[in-house]
């Protein structure tokens, strides 16, 4: 099996635009939720928006694409791949939720009223397919696909891109996820009763639900041969990706974490490591009662009761299709920096959960880490990352 290395990282979220500012937010645990400002809303749930999102050539109405492009360009820059080199097949695999649907209320209001509904929003949708749009703008020549697996989309996109590389479908892959704050999920999660009216507190006894966020997280993956042929080395590897579905319910996780456990065990086996080799788990940790209970119990079952884990959603909010990409990038940064951030928002142990996330910054002692994602529809993804001793 080919060794798939991580040669570039790009992130944008409420925690910061770019790796440098994000790293500082993770270190300090700064949380900046606030009311929705990107669209009018009567709902008062706090959200984690990206401040000052700027593009030289902003595509109107395509905020998710702007977010994705920002992270993709940073990741490619980090990998030394801008512009893309000739003769390399570069695949684009990105996950999203919002950008895969026509969620334009103005268009739909006009349609319902029988007035001529302008198709601008439909055109934007048709030109805003994340992978397709970035493939065109980057002139990338490998496969391109947009993954729409709800909240595990970003992690699944990274896993699929990894498979592309090991199968030889491309030499390099740009993979991750992106999503914007949008009125439809804000309304939908609100009526499901899983939005918190206060800053979220993943795994805390007093957690009251999730906060929506937005952003994009992207990894550049390639074979070690490809990287070394460019005169570079990598300090991060992506040894495995596990995926399994609960086959239980559309919105609730399996109470025994059947799919998550299967995904984790598959990933550990594929990476040829034991649970003891894993230093920490960057958990999905949304801050909802159900998710955190099931996820923590599963982590304890797979890794033992002393498992070190955290949720970064206390700093970014739940960024839906972006979450898996962002959290894979955060996991990579923690491995590289040798320090795991504290699980922001956590204060009090939940006796029902029995284990608790990292309450303070902690040194990384082992070389592997895992990032987990759970999704509506019952999807579960687990990415195993490893640091090496190579210098970049």
């Amino acid at each position: 099996m080919k060794d798939v290395v991580i040669s570039g990282l790009g992130v944008i979220s409420a925690a910061g635009i770019g790796v440098a500012t994000t790293r500082e937010s993770m270190r300090t645990g700064a949380r900046r939720p606030g009311p929705v400002s990107v669209f009018p809303s009567q709902l008062s749930y706090p959200v984690f928006e990206v401040a000052r999102l700027q593009q030289d050539d902003p595509a109107p109405g395509l905020r998710t694409l702007d977010l994705a492009r920002t992270a993709v360009l940073e990741a490619l820059q980090d990998a030394g791949l801008l512009p893309l080199p000739d003769g390399r097949r570069v695949g684009i695999c990105l996950g999203t939720t919002v950008a895969s649907q026509v969620n334009d209320l103005d268009f739909y209001r006009a349609y319902r009223a029988g007035a001529p509904a302008k198709l601008d929003s439909v055109e934007r949708y048709l030109h805003g397919n994340l992978a397709g749009a970035l493939q065109r703008s980057l002139r990338a020549s490998g496969p391109a696909v947009t993954v729409v697996n709800a909240c595990s989309s970003g992690a699944d996109a990274i896993g699929i891109a990894r498979s592309w590389i090991t199968a030889g479908y491309c030499d390099i892959a740009v993979a991750g996820g992106a999503d914007e704050i949008c009125s439809v999920p804000l309304s939908g999660f609100g009526v499901l009763g899983i939005l918190s009216s206060a800053p979220c507190r993943p795994f805390d006894r007093d957690r009251g639900g999730l906060n929506l966020g937005e952003g994009a997280g992207v990894l550049v993956l390639e074979t070690r041969e490809s990287l070394e042929s460019r005169g570079r080395s990598a300090d991060l590897v992506l040894p495995a990706y596990g995926s399994a579905i609960d086959a239980y319910h559309l919105t609730a996780p399996h109470p025994e974490g059947v799919g998550l456990e299967a995904a984790l065990r598959w990933a550990l086996r594929a990476a040829a490591i034991t649970p003891e080799d894993v230093d920490f788990v960057n958990a999905h940790g949304t801050g909802t009662m159900d998710n955190d209970l099931v996820e923590a119990a599963t982590l304890a079952r797979v890794f033992g009761k002393d498992v070190r884990f955290l949720s970064t959603k206390g700093i970014t909010g739940h960024t839906l299709g972006a979450a898996g990409g962002l959290e894979a990038a955060f996991t990579a940064l923690a491995l590289r920096d040798g320090e795991v951030p504290a699980s922001a928002g956590f204060a009090t142990c939940d006796p029902q959960i029995g284990i608790h996330p990292l309450a303070q910054r902690t040194r990384v002692e082992r070389d592997h880490a895992v990032s987990t994602s759970l999704a509506f529809g019952g999807g579960n993804a687990a990415l195993v990352l490893r640091r090496t001793r190579e210098r970049r």
């Binding site: 397709g132 498979s163 509506f376």
Partner: protein
Amino acid sequence: MNVAGIGIVFSRGRGLDALAAALREGWRAPTWRAVTSLPGAEMPVYAVDDALLRDRAILGQMRRADRFTKMAVLAAADAVVDAGLMVAPGSTDVGIVVASGLGSHATAFRFLDEMLEFGEAAPSPTLFSRSVQNAAASHIALHLGAHGPTTTLTQFHLSFQQALLVASAWLSEGRCSHVLVGAAEECGAVMEYVCRERIRLAPDGRIEPLRFGAAPEAVPGEGSVFFVLARDRASRCYGTLEVAPAPSLDDADLVLVDSDGLTEDETPYRAVARARAVAAYSPVYGSMMTGTAFHCAAALLMLRDRLRFAVPVTENPHRLTVSLVPEPSDPGRIECIRHGCGEQVGSVRISR
């Protein structure tokens, strides 16, 4: 990848026999439906009959699921039965890949209906959970009791080709022994309006897939087709499916063109003039971004039955070698190509 089973639901029925009968019969006029928001306007549609979606044995536990999901679950379930595949309880050995150009948009719009009617704090939560793009894949997994890797993909015109790539990678990695891969498209009221306003509809309800013109005409269709793909060749095998890195028109015994009027310009298809023989069957099931999946089913039927179905066209302006009546044929390799937007092209190779 070995094709061990096929399931299909489309405007002319359910199952491979229905597909074979439709391909033998050729073109049939579509239904003309009123366009909800355009008074007096009608448009041709190849719609799936609601009666087909009332299979209690399969859909009884998902009565509230939407049409998109029901079509996908039926096709997937039929493919599994056709393959004789037994999914052991708790098995992670069967993967699921669902491809769609436009997804379950009708449910997403119904959620917008409720947001507009009742306000953003009061829509149906059930409707929201059903509107997520991966709901169909989730229902398929629920029906089968399968816990393997499951993903839903969209890449407009090339969604199905990308799904096959994922399936191929999963099989070669040993992630699963079988992958249930398929496509689904739904033609809901809003999409009909969009089609009416945005694309050229065939005024006589007839797609002419061999015109290869700069202003092609479409007849929107809907349906779902699924394939059970196996790593190992089983006793039951229709043939093999592989995504080709680039179309290879010269080597194929037959080139299937998935031209259906949905792209703005079909002139790139003129390159198939050098192919030994050409066929196109979009007039049978309608225009769909994932039409290649339906063409793959047709190709596998031709391999199985050793015949070439007649091409249901009235025009062949580029004088391609086509069969206008069903003919015995034993093609070893069929290539199905679809052009997407711009320079995108996808190719699937179907072999015995």
